[in-house]
């Protein structure tokens, strides 16, 4: 399942978080949770198994958007190391998920948000600045910057979500 679905899950999450590193963390935790639940899963058709996997991924995404942090509970329990992401990896994931065009589309939608979320999202998502720089630019703590970005992404879910179904079917 990992071999066939890992990239789809990663792309799915990258297009909703617009952050390659976060997406990889969520992907890892998704498969770690899937690993734990696999033993309790009754034999199913491949399509159903896939839907189950994406349900876990969506749940992880929801937690991330609420909390601004990537859950790592299952990863810790299993002792799994998430690879460190290099600039090359970020570019590769961005290309696979076509983040550049998505960022362009979002630039327009950002205008619909409140000024605080918009500025945080613009700096993080469009300008691709590290959270610490976003925090400095906005004069807030890094924690607050993360929270504003995740809330902003949640607010933009209506833009991001229509693509989810298409990706869930693809690949």
């Amino acid at each position: 399942m990992y071999a066939s679905e890992a990239k789809s899950v990663l792309v799915f999450l990258a297009r909703r978080t617009l952050d390659a590193e976060v997406a990889l963390g969520l992907t890892a935790e998704t498969f770690a949770q899937a690993w734990r639940g696999w033993g309790r899963l009754e034999p199913r058709a491949a399509e159903e198994t896939r839907a189950w996997l994406f349900t876990i991924a969506r749940r992880q995404l929801g937690r991330y958007l609420r909390r601004g942090r990537v859950e790592r509970r299952a990863l810790r329990q299993l002792g799994i190391e998430v690879p460190v992401v290099s600039d090359h990896d970020i570019a590769q994931i961005g290309e696979a998920a076509a983040l550049a065009s998505l960022r362009g589309a979002l630039g327009v939608e950002l205008a619909s948000l409140g000024v605080e979320q918009r500025e945080a999202l613009r700096l993080r998502v469009v300008d691709e600045l590290p959270y610490v720089v976003v925090a400095q630019r906005l004069g807030i703590t890094e924690a607050t910057a993360r929270a504003r970005v995740s809330r902003g992404l949640r607010a933009l879910a209506r833009v991001l979500d229509p693509m989810a179904k298409a990706e869930g079917r693809a690949g």
């Binding site: 990992y2 890992a6 498969f31 696999w38 990896d89 327009v108 610490v132 703590t141 924690a143």
Partner: protein, 423 residues
């Protein structure tokens, strides 16, 4: 496992390893989990015992700097390769374990920066606890290079020495206290309530008070637990001190904030010097003895003085529509005065409908360079006429880099003015 993306391939290898350990059958896998978990508990518990007995932790993977590498000519600059040194000062942690220590580095833009973390074998680092590094109990060395976002930096004085006092609140006992470091699993203080989730337990939060008071400082007195006055000898030629308390024991709350200044502040009450001078910082600032206004031995760096005539340049400003009533502003001028360190910069200011918009060069510039600089974000400007200025700003506050300057600071030199018309 083959995968076109390296990170997915490596992650796949982790799961493949797991599959190899736990077998392929469902029943067998479920039963093999329990010994694995028990083994981990024993190993971590064993590591804790080893720490208590020997004070030495296994070394884990180094902490990664998650931010872009520092640029030698911009911002704080980059750390000078030979300048980084671990100072001799140490502080015990209230919960035991590795001591805390301090690293000093100077930068290419004339600043000195302090980093505080746990210390082992002459390295500063983070302990895998409080959710950092999945609680692996290991010592993870900090990056050798200074982070671009190191928050505790100030200009060196005329003799190239750093004088600085830093307070940081609610730091996890793991030692994670620099925001640019990649320790994303680390717990957060409850004061960062926006996040929810993995809060650090109160017993694992620390307040850090540290700094350098210079070669002539001898002792420091501070208000400790239950209001008790404690005095400590300052360390080495830098006059270094490092105080670590449980966050709940500190007088007042720092609330997850960091402050850095030339003058000591609470909980520090008194500093004594080699000439017998005794400075009391518990008093309101206006009543502080004149000789205590600056640390003894501190020599401010000379600041450049220019006149408007020397720096005057035509300023060209172009506004281009960015959609939805926003405008991108590009400002161009000649920088007649060079920028050689972090104490000076060119600042572009625009009086908008809701206040000032500003942008600073924050980078080193050669004399006579044409600067073309955008304001950082598209501005929401209604049709009308707007006025702006370009100023050369220099820090005149001892110890404060120019970034701390307020707009329209009295010592700014106006380079030129510009007007834009939005239709």
């Amino acid at each position: 496992m083959s995968h076109e993306m390296r990170v997915l391939a490596e992650l796949g290898d982790e799961f493949a390893r797991l599959a190899g350990e736990s077998g392929s059958s469902r029943r067998r896998a479920r039963w093999r989990w329990r010994p694995l978990v028990v083994t981990l508990v024993v190993v971590v518990g064993g590591a804790t015992v080893a720490l208590a007995a020997t004070g030495v932790l296994n070394v884990g993977k180094p902490v990664r700097d998650a931010t872009a590498p520092p640029v030698p000519s911009a911002g704080n600059g980059s750390g000078r390769a030979t300048s980084s040194r671990i100072l001799g000062v140490r502080a015990q942690d209230p919960g035991g374990g590795l001591a805390w220590g301090m690293r000093l580095a100077t930068t290419t833009r004339g600043l000195g920066c302090l980093e505080v973390a746990r210390v082992q074998d002459g390295s500063v680092g983070v302990v895998g606890q409080d959710h950092a590094f999945s609680d692996d109990g290991k010592f993870h060395p900090l990056p050798v290079a200074l982070s671009a976002t190191s928050p505790a930096c100030a200009p060196l004085d005329r003799r190239g020495r750093l004088f600085l006092n830093v307070n940081v609140g609610d730091v996890p006992a793991s030692g994670v206290n620099a925001s640019g470091l990649d320790v994303s699993g680390s717990c957060v203080p409850p004061s960062a309530h926006e996040l929810g989730g993995a809060f650090c337990p109160g017993r694992d939060e620390r307040n850090l008070y540290y700094g350098l008071l210079g070669p002539r400082a001898r002792t420091l007195t501070y208000t400790g637990e239950h209001g008790a006055q404690r005095t400590l000898e300052l360390h080495g030629p830098d006059g270094a001190y490092l105080i670590v308390t449980r966050a709940v024991e500190a007088p007042g709350s720092i609330n997850n904030a960091i402050s850095a200044s030339l003058d000591p502040s609470a909980p520090i009450t008194t500093v004594t010097y080699s000439n017998g001078l005794r400075c009391n910082f518990a008093e309101p600032l206006p009543t502080v003895h004149d000789e205590c206004r600056l640390p003894l031995g501190y020599l401010p760096r000379p600041t450049p003085h220019y006149t408007h005539a020397q720096l005057a340049s035509p300023v060209r400003a172009v506004a281009r529509p960015a959609g939805r009533g926003r405008w991108k502003l590009m400002v161009s001028f000649i920088a007649h005065a060079p920028i050689t360190n972090a104490l000076s910069e060119y600042v572009i200011q625009l009086q908008g409908p809701h206040g000032w918009y500003g942008s600073s060069s924050a980078t080193s510039i050669g004399a006579g360079t044409r600067i073309t600089q955008p304001l950082p974000a598209p501005l929401p400007l209604a049709p009308g006429t707007y006025h702006g200025t370009v100023v050369f700003a220099t820090s005149t506050t001892p110890g404060a880099p120019s970034a701390a300057l307020a707009i329209n600071h009295g010592t700014d030199v106006i380079v030129g003015r510009f007007t834009i018309h939005i239709r």
